[in-house]
C-alpha cells in the first residue's frame, strides 16, 4: 500500500516547534522544579505521617526507631561485650557513624527507586521528573531529624555539652543530603534501564559500611599518608568523620572538610546532569 500525500501543508515555518522528547533548557527546567516545591515538600511529609497510621504508636515510631537502635548497641557493646576498638566513648562513636551512614544509604536507595515506583505517575502526567528524586530525598531528610535528635541526646548523655560547633549541623546536613541525592540521581537513571541495580545496591552499601570507619577508628589503624589519602576518596568516611567532629569533637583534619565539600557539590551537579540527560525516556520501554 502506497502512502498518500499528507494533508495540505500548513505554514512551513517551524518557529516555536521543538523535537518531541527534547528536554527543557536548564533555566526553564529549574523554574518548573521550583513551581513544584509544594509537591516536593508536602507529598513526602504526608506520606511520612501516613506511614505509621496503622500502628498503635503512630508517629512516635519515627523517634522510637532510632532510640531502639541505640538501645541495641548499648546492650551489645556496653553491657554484653564492652570493647572499645581503640575509641573513647564507643557508643557515641558508633551511634553517630551508623546513623550518618544509614541516612545516606536510605536517601540513595529511595531515590534510586523513586522513578521506577512512580511509572504510573510518569506515564500519566507531565512534570519534570527530577521532582521524584527530590521528594524522596525530602522524605528521608524529614525522617532523619528524629535520629539527629537521638544522636544529640546520646552525645549529651555521655557528658559532652552542646558546643558552638553544633551550629554547623544544618550546613553539614545540607552537604550530605546533596551528595546522597546526587548519587541517587545516578542510581535512578541506571535503575530505570537495569533493575538489577536495585538488587546490587545493598551489597555496595554493605561493603562501604565496613570500609568507611563506621565501626572502628580509621586513624587508629592507618597512619601512613597514603592510607589517609585513600580514605579521603571515600565520601562516607568523610561524612562520618566530619559529623563526629561537629557532634562530639573527635578530631577531623582540614582536608577531610575540603573533600566533603568537593564530594557534595560535584556529585550533586554530575548526578543531576546525568539524570536530566534521560529526562524524557523515563516511563518508556528503555
Amino acid at each position: 500500500m502506497e502512502p498518500t500525500p499528507a494533508h495540505p501543508p500548513l505554514d512551513s515555518a517551524t518557529d516555536g516547534l521543538a523535537p518531541a522528547g527534547q528536554s527543557l533548557p536548564l533555566g526553564i527546567y529549574l523554574r518548573e522544579l521550583w513551581l513544584r516545591r509544594d509537591f516536593v515538600i508536602r507529598v513526602p511529609m504526608e506520606d511520612l505521617l501516613a506511614q505509621n497510621a496503622h500502628t498503635f504508636l503512630g508517629g512516635i515510631w519515627l523517634v522510637l526507631n532510632p532510640l531502639l537502635q541505640v538501645g541495641v548497641y548499648f546492650l551489645v557493646f556496653g553491657v554484653i561485650m564492652p570493647i572499645d576498638r581503640g575509641v573513647d566513648q564507643y557508643l557515641v562513636f558508633l551511634t553517630i557513624g551508623v546513623f550518618v551512614f544509614f541516612y545516606s544509604q536510605r536517601v540513595v536507595s529511595e531515590v534510586a527507586r523513586s522513578v521506577v515506583v512512580n511509572l504510573g505517575l510518569i506515564r500519566a502526567l507531565r512534570f519534570p521528573r527530577a521532582v521524584l528524586p527530590l521528594s524522596a530525598t525530602v522524605g528521608q531528610a524529614m525522617a532523619f531529624l528524629p535520629a539527629l535528635a537521638v544522636m544529640a541526646v546520646v552525645v549529651v548523655a555521655h557528658g559532652t555539652w552542646p558546643h558552638p560547633r553544633w551550629l554547623l549541623i544544618p550546613g553539614l546536613l545540607v552537604l550530605q543530603t546533596a551528595f546522597s541525592l546526587g548519587a541517587g540521581f545516578v542510581a535512578a537513571r541506571y535503575n530505570h534501564t537495569y533493575r538489577d541495580l536495585e538488587n546490587l545496591l545493598p551489597f555496595v552499601f554493605r561493603l562501604a559500611f565496613y570500609v568507611s570507619g563506621v565501626l572502628y577508628s580509621v586513624d587508629h589503624y592507618i597512619d601512613s599518608t597514603l592510607g589517609r589519602a585513600v580514605f579521603l576518596a571515600n565520601p562516607f568516611y568523610c561524612f562520618v568523620t566530619v559529623w563526629r567532629w561537629v557532634m562530639a569533637g573527635t578530631p577531623a583534619a582540614g582536608e577531610v572538610w575540603v573533600a566533603t565539600g568537593i564530594w557534595s557539590t560535584v556529585t550533586l551537579v554530575v548526578g543531576f546532569a546525568l539524570f536530566r540527560a534521560r529526562e524524557t525516556t523515563y516511563g518508556g520501554t528503555g
Binding site: 502512502p3 516547534l17 521543538a18 523535537p19 522528547g21 505517575l121 506515564r123 502526567l125 524524557t280 520501554t285
Partner: protein
C-alpha cells in the same frame, strides 16, 4: 495560515524484540540473542494545526499508539522527526497514577505534580472530583477502581490544567455513556480554547463527534488523511 502544533516528518518507530535471551553461559560461548526488529511506524508525515482535532484510526497493530508515544517523546524515533509546539499530555488506557493512594490523594498529587501550589490544588480539587463523578469511590484506593473509573480520574486530573496538546489513546472508550458525553464536551471546550487533540479510537462515532479530520494508518503507513466523512467512508468500505 494557521500555526503548526505537531509536525511529523517521515517518522519511524521500531521495536527490538528479543525472543530468546541466552543465559550468561550461552553469552560466554558467543551465542547472540535472537532479536527481531518490528517496524511499528514506517515513515509517517503529517501536520496538525493549532486548534485542530484529528482522529487516528486503523486496525490493531497499525502503529497508532506508537505514533502517539513518539509524539510525547516517550518512545525514541528510529528515523524522521516529530516537532511539537509544547509538551503534549498523553492519556492512555492504563493510567494508574499512584495505585496505593485514594482517589482524593491522587487528585491532589496530580494537581501538585502539574505545578499548582498547595492552595491552588485545594481550590481545584473539588471541581476535578466533581468532573470524575466518582463520588464516595474517591475515598477508596485507586487500585480498587475499574478501568473505566481510573480513566475518568486520569482524564479529569490531566485536563484540569488545560494542556495545549492532548494525545488520547482509547482513554475515553472505557468510560460509560455519561462520561463519554462529559469528556467530549470538555474536548469541545479545549478546542475552542485553541487546544490541539490527537484522538486514537476504534469508536468511529466518537471520532465523528470530536474530529474534523482523520488519519487512517495501516501497517505503519498513512493510507488516507483528510476530512472525517471522506476518510471514514473509505475506512468503512474497506
Amino acid at each position: 495560515m494557521s500555526k503548526v502544533a505537531i509536525r511529523c516528518t517521515d517518522a519511524r518507530v521500531s521495536y527490538t524484540v528479543r525472543t530468546h535471551r541466552p543465559l550468561i553461559r550461552g553469552a560466554l560461548r558467543g551465542q547472540r540473542p535472537d532479536a527481531r526488529v518490528i517496524e511499528a511506524v514506517r515513515g509517517v508525515t503529517f501536520d496538525v494545526a493549532v486548534g485542530e482535532s484529528v482522529g487516528v484510526i486503523g486496525p490493531n497493530g497499525s502503529g497508532k499508539t506508537s505514533l502517539l508515544q513518539a509524539t510525547t517523546g516517550l518512545l525514541p524515533l528510529a528515523g524522521g522527526q516529530v516537532l511539537v509546539r509544547s509538551t503534549p499530555a498523553f492519556l492512555g488506557v492504563q493510567a494508574v497514577l499512584r495505585p496505593h493512594l485514594t482517589g482524593w490523594r491522587n487528585i491532589r498529587l496530580g494537581l501538585l505534580a502539574q505545578g499548582l501550589n498547595a492552595a491552588e490544588a485545594r481550590g481545584q480539587a473539588d471541581g476535578v472530583a466533581e468532573f470524575t463523578g466518582l463520588g464516595d469511590f474517591l475515598d477508596l484506593r485507586m487500585e480498587t477502581y475499574s478501568s473505566g473509573m481510573r480513566a475518568r480520574l486520569h482524564f479529569a486530573v490531566a485536563t484540569a490544567l488545560a494542556p495545549k496538546i492532548l494525545l488520547i489513546d482509547e482513554a475515553l472508550a472505557v468510560g460509560d455513556r455519561e462520561f463519554r458525553n462529559k469528556s467530549a464536551a470538555r474536548l469541545d471546550d479545549h478546542r475552542a480554547a485553541a487546544g490541539t487533540v490527537l484522538l486514537v479510537s476504534h469508536n468511529l462515532a466518537e471520532i465523528r463527534r470530536s474530529c474534523s479530520r482523520v488519519i487512517w494508518l495501516q501497517e505503519g503507513l498513512v493510507v488516507a488523511d483528510g476530512p472525517t466523512p471522506d476518510v471514514l467512508a473509505a475506512y468503512e468500505a474497506s
